[in-house]
């Protein structure tokens, strides 16, 4: 048998013995099952026919999952939810699996918002499936939040690493069911995550899971209505809770995924396929990769097996999924008449084939980039929750690496708890980005929202209304004609991925050009002093000083020539453009991020000085004739000890939490390598300083150099 195989005698195959990546979920301790009676552990012993589908009550307690498994799951998602339309009570959240962490309770108001957000309104075809996304802020805890220590939050739960919102990826199914009063059943499976930057990944996940879930649920509940599945006590081993085995299987797959490492391409096994996903680095822009070996490689078409629909498609051409990009190409969503939108993989089958696009030209797209950059509120009107939501997701990503700081809602409805705040009043909050399918929201907002992007015109609307961007704003940046020509050429050939790549790269260049003067000015800000006594302080960014710097150095951002402003004749249009940005929330987010980065550097430098500084020199001066106040010395001792404790904790959390880098926080330079011994070194310094203090106390005026051992460090 070993014959012509490798040379290892005992085993014919030559093992590369890489630790399998990703490793399977850590097995629960054998003792935890099968006889375990605690409610906390997963009921792994399925010989008991009481897998209690009933546990899935509206309170959200589905079958409990093993803590270790759910902890690993929470690196990526919070839970799955089932929502159905109840004829008596309306949209109803019936199940959460696994139950949300105790630190993140889902109060009734949030449950209701999730329920309403997950059953789309608007003029949808009567049957079929729809995939779309929503975003809902996590309600603030009402109690006193307490003072947060610098590091305390670092080791907090995974969901705190998000943007303070829940992101729902909905698979909505509307089916004829004559048994029900209205003749239709409307149900949704929702993936809820705290991670804001991975719509491409989670859309892919749900497009696999959604159809499988409903199909499996149907077959395992023998075609009965969802309600009876829920109360089907006698189903026994048939289904694990109302979720069915599919969601359970999906959850275990996700919990076996490797940690989320920004800037890498991860292979994520999911329900029989391996998703190759490129995770962006921080807020860096992504664009579609050209398919490898384009032109020569043929797309493999699986024949004869299941899934006969597998055919060359937009998504099959790009096997690596850029995690931050929505599944449907931007240029396809915005093109005048998307040719095969209804048949494309990326869109739900429900889009009517006669659909017309908004016809956003390249120049208009540049204007959209500006509006987003400057924090202008935009309302997107769509006939279909998916298209509008994807456009919102695209728009907010156009200004990467600047993190869009406004409130954005890929699917906004009138029952949202923020409805009044975001649509009422004379002026919407800055940098608000809403997508809606509801004509009522359109009519409410049509007077107040300065920019309305219409992907859709309802049948009942007045004939004058057209698709496209309605805005009085004039574009500032110049159109690069060669890029426009290329983009149009790609679009003309139907190569939307290539068109997107061109567009996104161009906008990334513009954003960098725009940021250059800000970065330049930021670099000139004085960093804090280098003494051991004082920790670094934040810098002050003054708009007037920045404008002076801008006037002096200019900007390479290619602007159109424009007439001088009558209202403020002293400023150029370039300056007004930047001033507008400085007033926007996006500037705040940029500055914050910039300060964090600079702060990390400054802090790192400070810690290095602390752990390596010559304390004797600090204490007695270079010549040894100075002195320090006792209080001053005590303070530094205390600081050294505090920093040592923080370093220990940082080290601990970076070891015990396998996924310390999150999308929102780049790996900080302090949390690796030499941090291991930093705590130790800082403690040594503290001890040294104490002995120096004692020395100075004991010696009184005669400071002897003779203590020897502790003074030979430089």
């Amino acid at each position: 048998m070993n014959g012509d195989l490798g040379s290892v005698p005992s085993s014919a195959l030559d093992y590369a013995y890489n630790p399998p990546a990703p490793s399977p979920p850590p097995p629960p301790a054998p003792a935890a099952h099968p006889a375990s009676t605690t409610t906390n552990s997963l009921k792994l012993d399925t010989t008991q026919a009481t897998l209690s589908p009933t546990a899935a009550a509206a309170t959200g307690a589905a079958d409990e999952m093993d803590q270790a498994v759910s902890d690993r799951l929470r690196r990526w998602i919070i839970c799955f939810a089932l929502v159905e339309f109840d004829l008596d009570t309306g949209p109803l959240l019936t199940t959460l699996y696994p139950a949300p962490p105790s630190s993140l309770p889902f109060p009734p108001s949030l449950q209701q918002n999730i329920a309403f957000s997950s059953l789309p309104e608007g003029d949808l075809p009567t049957a079929g499936a729809h995939a779309y996304t929503w975003r809902i802020p996590i309600p603030k805890p009402t109690g006193e939040k307490g003072k947060e220590r610098e590091v305390a939050e670092e080791s907090g739960e995974e969901w705190r690493k998000g943007d303070g919102c829940l992101h729902g990826f909905v698979w909505f199914v509307q089916e004829k069911n004559p048994a029900l009063r209205r003749g239709y059943s409307q149900r949704s499976l929702v993936l809820i995550t705290h991670l804001p930057s991975l719509p491409g990944l989670f859309s892919s996940v749900l497009s696999i899971l959604g159809p499988m879930h409903f199909k499996h649920q149907q077959s395992s509940s023998s075609g009965s209505s969802p309600v009876s599945t829920r109360s089907g006590v006698g189903n026994g081993g048939e289904a694990a809770g109302a979720m069915g085995g599919m969601v359970e299987a999906a959850s275990y797959n996700i919990s076996s995924w490797p940690d989320l490492h920004p800037g890498t391409t991860l292979d994520l096994p999911f329900l029989g396929t391996v998703l190759s996903v490129e995770i962006p680095l921080g807020s860096q822009p992504q664009w579609p990769l050209p398919p490898p070996n384009a032109g020569t490689g043929k797309i493999k078409i699986q024949r004869g097996g299941v899934g006969g629909a597998a055919s060359p498609s937009l998504s099959a051409v790009a096997p690596v999924i850029p995690a931050s990009l929505p599944p449907t190409p931007l240029s396809l969503l915005l093109s005048p008449s998307p040719p095969s939108l209804s048949r494309s993989n990326s869109l739900s089958t429900s889009s009517s084939s006669s659909r017309l696009g908004p016809n956003i030209s390249f120049a208009k797209l540049l204007l959209l980039w500006e509006l987003i950059l400057l924090g202008e509120p935009i309302l997107v009107v769509s006939g279909n929750p998916r298209e509008g939501g994807e456009v919102v997701e695209w728009l907010r990503g156009l200004i990467r690496p600047i993190l869009f700081a406004g409130d954005y809602r890929p699917y906004f409805h009138i029952h949202d708890s923020d409805f009044a705040r975001l649509t009422g009043g004379s002026k919407p909050p800055p940098a608000t980005l809403l997508s809606t399918t509801n004509p009522l929201i359109l009519s409410t907002c049509s007077k107040t929202y300065p920019h309305i992007l219409r992907l859709h015109v309802g049948a009942t609307e007045s004939p004058g209304v057209t698709r496209g961007l309605a805005s009085t704003r004039k574009r500032h940046v110049r159109v690069d004609k060669s890029v426009r020509r290329e983009v149009e050429e790609k679009e003309g050939r139907g190569d939307y991925l290539a068109a997107d790549a061109l567009i996104l790269q161009h906008l990334a260049r513009l954003t960098e050009m725009f940021l250059a003067p800000l970065n330049r000015y930021f670099g000139t800000l004085p960093s804090s002093d280098t003494s051991l006594s004082s920790p670094p302080s934040s810098r002050s960014f003054t708009p007037s000083a920045f404008l002076t710097s801008l006037r002096q150095h200019g900007s390479s951002l290619p602007l159109r020539p424009s007439a001088p402003s009558l209202s403020s004749p002293s400023t150029s249009s370039l300056e007004r453009f930047y001033l507008k940005f400085l007033q926007s929330p996006n500037f705040a987010s940029w500055l914050h991020e910039r300060m964090d980065r600079a702060g990390e550097q400054v802090r790192e430098g400070y810690l290095r000085r602390l752990e390596g500084g010559d304390l004797r020199e600090w204490m007695f001066g270079i010549g040894g004739e100075e002195g320090r106040e006792e209080g001053e010395v005590e303070e530094l001792v205390g600081r050294l000890e505090r920093e040592a404790a923080i370093s220990d904790r940082l080290l601990l959390s970076s070891n015990s939490l396998p996924s310390s880098p999150s999308v929102s926080s780049l790996a900080s330079p302090g949390v690796n390598g030499n941090t291991a011994e930093r705590g130790e070194r800082l403690r040594n310094q503290a001890a040294r300083l104490r002995s120096l203090r004692d020395e100075s106390r004991g010696a009184g005026s005669g400071r002897s150099e003779g203590t020897g051992s502790s003074s030979d460090e430089s």
Binding site: M1, L13, D14, H216, N253, K300, S313, P319
Partner: protein, 272 residues
């Protein structure tokens, strides 16, 4: 993201990605076989698999590097209807039964039928009779040899994986005497081998516990798979066939991803 992607793809050691699925009744030892193969390890008390576990193992066969992408499915009945998504686009399948449980061979036969009807037509199927350590004579025994209840009354497909009884049974070494060991065998080698031959399957008897036969399963599969064909039809490091379908496949059907028998080529290669 903007880096040229084509260059590294032609490196000589580019692995051939092979999607492999393990199927079989609950508690026959699928996960243990995989654990033995991927980590050269054995756990007596293996917890049941939920849905399917995923492991990879790189191997070298002659001048080629093979990367097995292994989907170790749950044997439990409640996950039964999930299995098509694991074997779709698979290049290989290992159908496992337990030599001490004749019912598990019957279950294995239905898996083989289903694979031959619905899976990739070129799929390489191996039949593996696991737990042969339980029917091997063992030198040191300190326990009277009673056929345990697990072997006799567990004939119907249960939903359990490693129940305590089974665990006791898996401690086959202690079972002792030759006669007793042999009496635990419910599936003869000849019977299973003949069936495998009829259906064109690779056949092995294995023990995940001792490691016997496990590597051979994967070796023979690797030899039988048209590696060059797979290599030619995939594009670049991320482009295994199974993976290419990762986005295109399941999403393709939109609302109704097709797991239907009706749509697949009806092709009963095996008459058994």
């Amino acid at each position: 993201m903007s880096a040229p992607a084509a260059a590294p793809a032609e490196a000589p050691a580019r692995p051939v990605q092979v999607k492999l699925v393990l199927l079989g009744e609950s508690a026959v030892g699928k996960s243990s076989v995989v654990l033995r193969f991927c980590q050269n390890d054995f756990q007596a008390n293996k917890e049941p698999t939920i849905g399917a576990a995923f492991l990879t193992q790189r191997c070298r066969l002659e001048d080629k590097v093979i990367k097995f992408e292994i989907w170790d499915t749950a044997g439990q009945e409640r996950f039964r209807s999930l299995s098509p998504m694991y074997y779709r686009n698979a290049q290989a399948a290992v159908v496992v039964y337990d030599v001490t449980k004749s019912a598990s061979l019957e279950q294995a036969k239905t898996w083989v039928k289903e694979l031959q009807r619905q899976a990739n037509p070129n799929i390489v199927i191996a039949l593996a009779g696991n737990k042969v350590d339980l029917v091997r004579p063992s030198s040191d025994s300190d326990e009277p040899s009673t056929p345990t209840s697990a072997t006799s009354d567990d004939d119907e497909a249960d939903d359990a994986t490693a129940t305590p009884e089974d665990d006791a049974a898996e401690g086959g070494d202690e079972e002792g005497a030759v006669a007793a060991s042999e009496s635990r065998r419910q599936v003869s080698r000849e019977e299973a081998e003949e069936y495998a031959k009829e259906c064109g399957l690779l056949f092995f008897e294995t023990s995940a516990k001792t490691g016997e036969g496990v590597v051979e399963v994967f070796t023979e599969i690797a030899k039988k798979i048209p590696l060059d064909h797979i290599l030619a039809s995939t594009r670049g490091p991320g482009g295994a066939a199974g993976r290419g379908a990762g986005r295109g496949g399941p999403a393709a059907g939109g609302a109704s991803v097709n797991l239907n028998e009706e749509e697949s080529a009806k092709k009963d290669a095996c008459a058994c």
